[in-house]
């Protein structure tokens, strides 16, 4: 294949088309993000930014309503909220296939929602990560990313019912929980295994 033949072949490959309306909406979406930037999560910023919702700030009405229906009035979630399988289940049911993660730390509870109902249904996974006295707990699903320790970490369910965390600077598995992860103390398991009954 000579130079010209290769050039013609390369240039013949089109970029995949987008669905109707995509090009009209994209500029507006960019401007919207500029006008309404998403807040940074605690324990460091995340590089990939799904839509973050602060439940105890001016969040979406539906997220506030979800908490109001689940929690007693005038109460804050206990540290064990994410271990309450029934409460977590109710919250997930309010946003079917949209919840990427539920995060809880000293600042409170936050939902990470997908713009579209494209989060696959799977077994909820519970994760707790601490550096020193600063801890973040999360309920999420295999294949989702959560902000941890200044990086974005992917949470995966392995073939034996365990959990794997893969960050930019560490990797950890529940099969070897005491193996160091860059100074982080990590606990993770399917939520059903650790839920408070």
């Amino acid at each position: 294949m000579n130079h010209d033949q290769l050039e013609r072949l390369l240039k013949s490959v089109p970029v995949p088309p987008r669905e109707a309306g995509y090009w009209e909406n994209f500029p507006r979406d960019v401007v919207h993000r500029l006008q309404f930037p998403t807040p940074a999560p605690s324990l460091g910023p995340s590089k990939r930014r799904p839509r973050m919702v602060w439940l105890f700030a001016a969040a979406t009405a539906s997220a506030i309503l979800a908490l109001a229906l689940i929690l007693k009035p005038a109460s804050r979630p206990t540290p064990q909220f994410l271990l309450n399988e029934a409460a977590v289940g109710e919250l997930l049911a309010m946003f079917p296939n949209r919840v990427r993660a539920i995060l809880q730390d000293a600042q409170g509870l936050r939902l990470v929602l997908s713009d579209e109902p494209d989060v696959p249904s799977s077994t909820p996974l519970w994760v707790r990560v601490c550096r020193g006295t600063q801890c973040l707990s999360a309920v999420t699903f295999s294949g989702q990313e959560v902000p941890l320790d200044g990086q974005s970490a992917m949470v995966l369910a392995d073939a034996r019912g365990g959990v794997i965390l893969v960050g930019e600077r560490f990797a950890w598995t529940s099969q070897a929980p005491n193996r160091g992860a860059g100074g982080l103390r990590i606990q993770a398991a399917p939520l059903s295994q650790v839920a408070i009954r």
Binding site: M1, H3, Q5, L6, E7, L9, L10, K11, S12, V13, P14, V15, P16, R18, W23, F26, P27, R28, D29, V30, V31, R33, L34, Q35, K47, R48, M154, D158, A159, I164, V166, E168, A171, T173, Q175
Partner: protein, 184 residues
């Protein structure tokens, strides 16, 4: 040279803190940026994320755009560097997954560079071959073949010497010829 007349007003108003003035700039260059990020990543979803991040970053750095290059070239530089960082991150994730799969005796996914024939139709095969190039070779190829930059312009985007771009293109074309010889 460098910026079109109507863009001058959009850029000035955007720099003054009017995000809505940025919208026509996005509309004008969105397809170019999407094409570039798609060819670098091979993933529509990642391309969309990177395209959006390109424009967000461009808005925040508009005050650094001084018109010494076209606005498209300046945007392309931002997009390429975001894609190169993305590629580096994706490769680290892939390597970590392979390492953990080996340690946990979980069947690993078939390596992308196992040397097997490229699957799919001709367009898939060409795109997959492009994705097998080292990231910087891929970037040089995309900027010259698809964005129409000469070696000097591509070097400015990539922040390297013109001779480096020439060498990367030479290596990229040789590798593509080997990968695509069955299509020749």
């Amino acid at each position: 040279m460098g910026v079109l007349e109507d863009e001058v007003d959009w850029i000035r108003r955007s720099c003054a803190g009017d995000p809505s003035a940025f919208e026509p700039l996005v509309a004008r260059y969105q397809r170019m940026v999407h094409a570039l990020t798609y060819r670098m990543t091979g993933s529509t979803a990642d391309a969309e994320d990177l395209a959006q991040e390109t424009f967000l970053r461009a808005y925040r750095r508009l005050d650094t755009y001084c018109g010494d290059a076209t606005f498209a070239t300046w945007l392309g530089r931002i997009a390429i560097h975001l894609c190169l960082n993305w590629t580096s991150r994706a490769q680290r994730h892939d390597q970590l997954h392979r390492d953990w799969a080996a340690q946990l005796e979980i069947p690993a996914q078939r390596a992308a560079n196992a040397g097997a024939n490229l699957p799919g139709d001709i367009y898939d095969q060409v795109q997959q071959a492009i994705l097998r190039l080292p990231a910087k070779q891929r970037a040089a190829l995309i900027l010259t073949v698809y964005e129409g930059l000469n070696h000097s312009q591509a070097a400015r985007v990539l922040g390297c010497a013109e001779t480096t771009v020439s060498w990367r293109l030479f290596a990229a074309r040789n590798k593509l010829r080997r990968l695509l010889k069955q299509l020749g």
